[in-house]
Amino acid sequence: MLFLQYLTAGVVTGCFLILATIGFSLTRQVEGFLNIAHAELLGIGAFATWWLNASQGWHILIAGPAAVVFTALIGLGIARTIYDPIRSRGPAVLLITSTGVAFVIGGVIDALVGTGIRTLDIGLATSYKPFGIRITDYQILVVALAAAVSVSLALFLNRTRIGLAIRARAVNPELAASRGVDVATTSRVTWLLSSGLAGLAGVMLAVIATLTTDLPFAQILQILAVAILAGLGSLYTVIASGLIIGIAMDVSVYWIPAGYRPLVAFSIVIIVLLFRSEGLAGRRAA
């Protein structure tokens, strides 16, 4: 039973990692670079939620969606003003620039939010014990949102015209452009989606965690681990990677000290890359 409890915790951790990483991977596939500032977009979502909920008195069900929209718009604004003008310089310059953007966003959040800890004005989680396994309503919400986001994104990318255009651009941008795919529109939609997803992860971070200005960026290593493990494949591998790393980290606590959780995550990444250098997805696919 204790093992199943660790497994449950791992599934929840994995679902949070899916929420935090899926937008990062979308950017990576479509825009072609690792957007390190993605973790700070989580921070924008989290602190926007905190400000609206705890300071302005908005209900979390209103504050959360508003924070998602706000983060999506900020992400689009950053992309249009900072990344677009230097897109031709290549992924290395974009990656380094995104690191700088992360520092700027972090500094602005520091200046606006200040010191100390921040929590939402929401109730304590309620625990349930189905089949003797303890799980809280907030944990169930994380799992449900991860599932809903995964299904919705899959439907969007496979069933809508703009989604198909995004996939086409991810596979071969030059060919997609030559076949009439509107590069500018797909880019904007991608940024809105990925930033909005970061905002959603930020909302859940605010719901389940205690916020400090350092906390969002602290998630970047695990986001990178999931994204690297997933490789440049379809978003389904991101879901698999998130669950693998989340479950491995939390179940490992059953046998080894909890302080080694990050070691477990990156050990898995290293082992997989040794045998499958392009990650779980193998060769690039849409």
Partner: protein, 464 residues
């Protein structure tokens, strides 16, 4: 690196609409202004000092006039390291760096320390200043980052001429040890309990608080005498929390109490459910939580939501009123206790300090006041206006001789040719070979949404 994106951001493709370029430029300027504003809060060495230290300037309007600085009261005693007085450049002031975390998780503690130091500086300057002139402070924010701490400390020493740096936290104190010894600048902390300083401290490196091992002993004593049958330990994965937790564990084990779990966890996680799984399954009578505010609040909430109904003992990071809002006072009232190094409230020196300074009750405020008073008295005793002078006599001014509790008393006693024994607001300040004082500890209980003293362990409790 920070300037790269904004510089690039202003160079846009021709296809970008003009209005968007304008908006982008304004956004970039706003971002730069905000970032610079943040830096001014702490990273800049000179400007923030003037902003953060108005009291010192106001208290000593004549500080820059060399004529108002007191003459050396008497030739220093050779036995106290006396050498010819170094004439400062303008003969009007001596600079002390205040290197604290004003942002980040420990920002609230940093402000307490900076404010108490400024209060001490104000008292010293109002009393006429030191033999080296009035004290001027330069304040910088470390954000809790050792790299920033080293950079700011170097600026303070090389650009501002600081002869002592007060207020670094544990990690930054350790990072500054080599710099302090190389530049012969005294560094002193009111809250750096790290046991690493037990080995590295003692020469140019001091602290007016006891080692973390003392916190562990006090925590262990509390847990052992509370009547628990079982205790679980949740310990943040840092040396400053693991070391005292190990000491407490030994004490609890020796008391015959069952330790159900000793979980060392990493901070910065959204959730700690995996770490709590075994602890909640064991259902101990109490949980000893040695962690920071971010991890601590999440752990407390998740444990209570998971059905834990026992008592808690927290370490000093959680000894702040904000915990009640963050956790929910109803969850911890009457069940939670917190342990931290504290001044002895029965000491006349503390009572006097409390009467003079409204913030005296804040954690580490007396220890911070003591730091700057010790430095000023050391300048008086040595007659040397540099770190080497302070280092040569600092042990002497706080051990043996005529008891004094303020700068003015100490200066007058030194002028009369007496040896002095500075009795601090935080308690006796006798430095051991590692530059550490022995400490007293308070246990507070959560009652009706505030921390209330329930036990006090004087320093003598832990003397073997």
């Amino acid at each position: 690196m920070e300037s790269t994106p904004t510089k690039r951001g202003t160079k846009m493709k021709p296809t970008t609409p003009r209005w968007l370029r304008l908006v982008a430029a304004m956004l970039a300027l706003a971002v730069i202004a905000a970032a610079c504003g943040n830096d001014d809060d702490g990273d800049g060495p000179a400007a923030p000092a003037e902003q953060a230290a108005p009291e010192a300037t106001a208290a000593a309007p004549e500080a820059t006039d060399g004529a108002t600085a007191p003459e050396p009261t008497e030739a220093p005693d050779a036995s106290e390291g006396g050498e010819p007085v170094d004439e400062p450049a303008d003969r009007g002031e001596v600079t002390i760096g205040v290197l604290v975390p004003l942002t980040g998780e420990l920002g609230e503690f940093g402000k307490i320390v900076a404010d108490a130091i400024e209060f001490g500086v104000g008292e010293i300057n109002v009393a006429g200043g030191t033999v080296c002139g009035d004290i001027r402070t330069v304040v910088a924010d470390t954000g809790g980052d050792p790299e920033t701490g080293i950079r700011e400390a170097t600026n303070m020493i090389e650009s501002e001429g600081a002869i002592a740096i007060l207020g670094p936290t544990s990690g930054i104190m350790v990072a500054l040890v080599d710099l302090a010894k190389r530049e012969e600048v005294v560094i002193m902390s009111p809250y750096a309990g790290t046991i690493t300083l037990n080995e590295l401290g003692g020469d140019f490196v001091y602290r007016t608080v006891s080692s973390d091992l003392g916190d562990g002993a006090a925590s262990g004593l509390w847990l052992s005498t509370r009547g628990y049958g079982s205790v679980a330990f949740m310990v943040q994965n840092e040396e400053s929390t693991i070391s005292p937790a190990e000491v407490a564990r030994t004490e609890v084990e020796e008391a015959g109490i069952d330790i159900t779990d000793f979980v060392v966890y990493n901070p910065g996680q959204p959730s700690y459910q995996a770490e709590l799984t075994s602890v909640l399954a064991s259902d101990p009578d109490a949980i000893f939580l040695a962690g920071g505010q971010e991890s601590g609040v999440t752990l407390i909430k998740e444990a209570v939501a998971g059905g834990f109904d026992g008592e808690w003992l927290f370490t000093a990071d959680l000894a702040v009123p904000e915990i009640f809002d963050a956790v929910g006072a109803e969850l911890i009232n009457d069940k939670a206790f917190v342990e931290f190094a504290d001044a002895d409230p029965s000491l006349p020196e503390f009572i006097s300090f409390e009467e003079r300074y409204p913030g005296a009750g804040a954690p580490f405020a007396p220890n911070s006041f003591d730091m700057v008073t010790l430095v000023a008295l050391s300048l008086e005793a040595s007659g040397q206006c540099d770190g080497a002078g302070i280092n040569s006599v600092i042990r002497g001014v706080s051990d043996g001789g005529t008891p004094v509790s303020t700068f003015a008393e100490g200066r007058d006693a030194l002028a009369s040719g007496d040896d002095i024994n500075y009795e601090g607001a935080s308690g006796p300040l006798v430095f051991d070979p590692s530059g550490t004082v022995s400490g007293a500890y308070t246990i507070q209980q959560a009652q009706n949404g505030e921390w209330v003293n329930v036990e006090f362990y004087p320093a003598s409790t832990f003397v073997e």
